[in-house]
Amino acid sequence: MMKSESTSLFGEQTRTISLSLAIVLGLILTVFLARWIDARRPPIDPAAADESLYLNGKTARRISLGFNGLAADWYWMRSLQYVGRKIMNLPDNVVLDSLEQLNLRLLPSLLDTSTTLDPQFLSPYEYAAVVLPAVDVDQAIRITKKGIEANPLAWRLYHQLGYIYWQQHEYQLAAETYGRGAQIPGAPSWMEAMKARMAAEGGSRSTAREIYSRMYEQSSDDKVKDMARRRLLQLDALDQIDGLQKMMVAFQNRFGRCPTTWKELEPVFRTMRLPLGEDGAPLDPSGTPYIFGKTHCDVQVSSKSEIPVK
C-alpha cells in the first residue's frame, strides 16, 4: 500500500517536472523560431505603410459604439507614429513644420478621422496646423476650420489658423483670424495685439518671434514646443548672422578680401563679447560654431546645429 502510494507520488512529480520542462523549452524554442522567421521575412512594402484608411471618420464614429474617444486616441497616436517613423531617417535639424520632403500622404486622413471621432480633442488640430501646411495647406486649413466649428470657444484654434495664414504670407487673413479669436471670452490680450501686428508688419522677424513664443507657451505637445523653441533659436541666429555679416563686410573693405579663418576675426568677436568655439568661430544660440559660406564672404548655420537651416 505504502509502496504504491510513493510510486504514484513519484509519478506525479515526474509528470509535473516533465510538463514544466516542456513549457520552458517550448517557450525558448518559439523565441528562436520567431527570430528565425523574422530574419527571413521579406521586407515590408513601403507602399503598404501608406495604404489608404479603410474607414473614413464618419463611418468610424458610427461604428465606435460609444468608444469614439478611445478610437480618436488610437488614430491620434497612429498619426504621431506615422510621422515619427518617417522622420527617423531625416537629419536632426529638420523641424516639424518643414516635412514637405516626406510623403505624409496619410496624415490628413488620420488627423481628420481622429477629430471626427472626437471633435473636442484639440491636439490633432494643433498638429494639423503645425505639420500639415508643408504637406497639404488646404487640408491644414480645412481641419483647423473644422476644429473652430466644433469648438467655437477655443481661441487657441484661431491662433493656429492665423499661424497657417501667416506661413502662407496671407497677412490680412491672419489679422482677421486673430481678430476673431481675440473676441472670444477668455482669449489673452496678445491675440488683439497680434491682429494689429499681422496687419502692420506680418512679414517681420518680430512678428515671427511673437508667434513662436506664444506657440511655445501654449502648446502641450513636446514636439510642437521643440519646433517653436528651435524656430526662436533660428530667429536669434538670423539676428546674429546679420551682425556677423556686417563684420565680414567691414573686414572685406579693410583688407580687400574675405577672411580665410575665424582667427582673423577673433579680436573683433572678443571685443563684441561673442561666445567662441575652439577654432575661434562664433557660436550660434544653440552653442554650435557657425561656418563660412562657400566663398568665405558669408556666415551660415552649421548642419550639425539643432537650428534649422530652412
Binding site: 460609444g66 474617444g69 478611445l70 480618436a72 486616441d73 491620434w76 507614429q81 491636439s123 513636446d222
Partner: protein, 284 residues
C-alpha cells in the same frame, strides 16, 4: 451554497421573526437571492477581470506618455472608462444570460420554487445580485482610473471629479443591459440570449440612426417600424459620456436625472416582461 439553501435560510429567519408585513418578507427573499447571486459571481471569479484592468491601466499610466504627445490624461480616462464599459458589458451579457439557466440546469430552481418564493422575486433577486457585482467592479475600476490620473498628474487632477458622473452613466447602461440579458434568458438558451443582448447593445448605440431612418423613410410602414424600434430599444448612446469626461466635461444635473429615471423605468419594464414570460414556464 445553492440558492435553495440561501432562500431556505431567509424564509426560516422570516418565520422566526414573524414579520407581519408581506412587503418586508418579499424584500428579505429578494435580498437573500441577490446576496447569493453576488457570492456565486465572486466564487466564479468574475471579479478577476479587475486584475487585467489594473494591469492595463498601470501599463497605460507608465508607457502612454511617450506615445501620446502629452495627452496621457485624456487617454487614461478614455482607456479606463472604455475598458470599464467593455468588461462590464461582457460580465452583464455572459453572467446575465446564465443567471436563470444555471439554476434550471442544476435543477435547483425546483427546490427554490418549492418554497414560498415568487418568480418575480427570484428574477429581481438574481438581477440585483449581478448589479451588485457590477457595482463593485465599476467602483474598483473608477478608483483605479482616479489613482492612475493622480500618478500621471503627480497629484490631484481635476478630471477625477468629472469621471464619476460618466462612471454612473456607464453603470446605468450596464444595469439596462443586465436587464436585457435576463429578459432573453427567461425564455431562450444562453448562447442565443448572449447574441441577442449583444445586438441590443449595438443597436442601442445606433439609436440616433434609427430615428434618422424613421424620419427619412418614404413609406409610412417603414417609418412607423423604425420609429417604434427607436422608442422600444434602449437608447444606450445617452449613457456614453466617456469622451466628454476625458475633456473635463460632465453631464448636466437635469440630464443625469433624466437618464437615471429612464434607466429605472426601462429596467422596470424589462423585469416585468421577464417575470411575465418566466411565470408562464412550467417548473413543476
Amino acid at each position: 451554497m445553492s440558492n435553495a439553501t440561501s432562500v431556505d435560510e431567509a424564509t426560516s429567519t422570516r418565520a422566526s421573526t414573524e414579520s407581519p408585513l408581506a412587503q418586508s418578507r418579499t424584500a428579505g427573499r429578494i435580498i437573500a437571492i441577490a446576496l447569493n447571486a453576488f457570492r456565486e459571481a465572486v466564487r466564479d471569479r468574475v471579479l478577476y477581470n479587475l486584475v487585467l484592468f489594473v494591469l492595463l491601466l498601470t501599463a497605460a499610466a507608465v508607457f502612454i506618455g511617450e506615445l501620446s504627445g502629452g495627452q496621457e490624461r485624456k487617454i487614461i480616462v478614455d482607456l479606463g472608462l472604455s475598458a470599464m464599459l467593455l468588461f462590464g458589458v461582457f460580465i452583464a451579457i455572459f453572467v446575465g444570460v446564465g443567471l436563470v439557466y444555471k439554476e434550471i440546469e442544476r435543477r435547483t430552481i425546483y427546490v427554490i420554487f418549492s418554497k414560498p418564493v415568487g418568480r418575480g422575486e427570484f428574477l429581481v433577486g438574481k438581477y440585483l445580485g449581478l448589479c451588485l457585482t457590477l457595482l463593485v467592479n465599476v467602483a474598483v475600476m473608477a478608483l483605479g482610473v482616479s489613482i492612475a490620473l493622480i500618478y500621471v498628474s503627480r497629484g490631484w487632477d481635476p478630471l477625477i471629479k468629472t469621471i464619476w458622473p460618466a462612471v454612473l452613466l456607464i453603470y446605468l447602461e450596464l444595469m439596462i443591459l443586465t436587464g436585457v440579458a435576463l429578459l432573453f434568458s427567461s425564455f431562450s438558451s444562453p448562447a442565443l440570449s448572449a447574441l441577442l443582448t449583444f445586438f441590443v447593445f449595438i443597436i442601442g448605440h445606433f439609436s440616433a440612426d434609427l430615428k434618422t431612418l424613421a424620419s427619412s423613410m418614404g413609406s409610412t410602414g417603414a417609418r412607423l417600424l423604425f420609429g417604434a424600434l427607436y422608442y422600444l430599444l434602449p437608447n444606450l448612446a445617452n449613457y456614453s459620456f466617456i469622451t466628454p469626461a476625458a475633456h473635463g466635461r460632465g453631464p448636466e444635473p437635469g440630464f443625469l436625472l433624466a437618464a437615471l429615471l429612464y434607466a429605472f423605468v426601462y429596467i422596470g419594464v424589462l423585469l416585468a416582461a421577464a417575470t411575465l414570460i418566466f411565470s408562464k414556464r412550467n417548473f413543476k
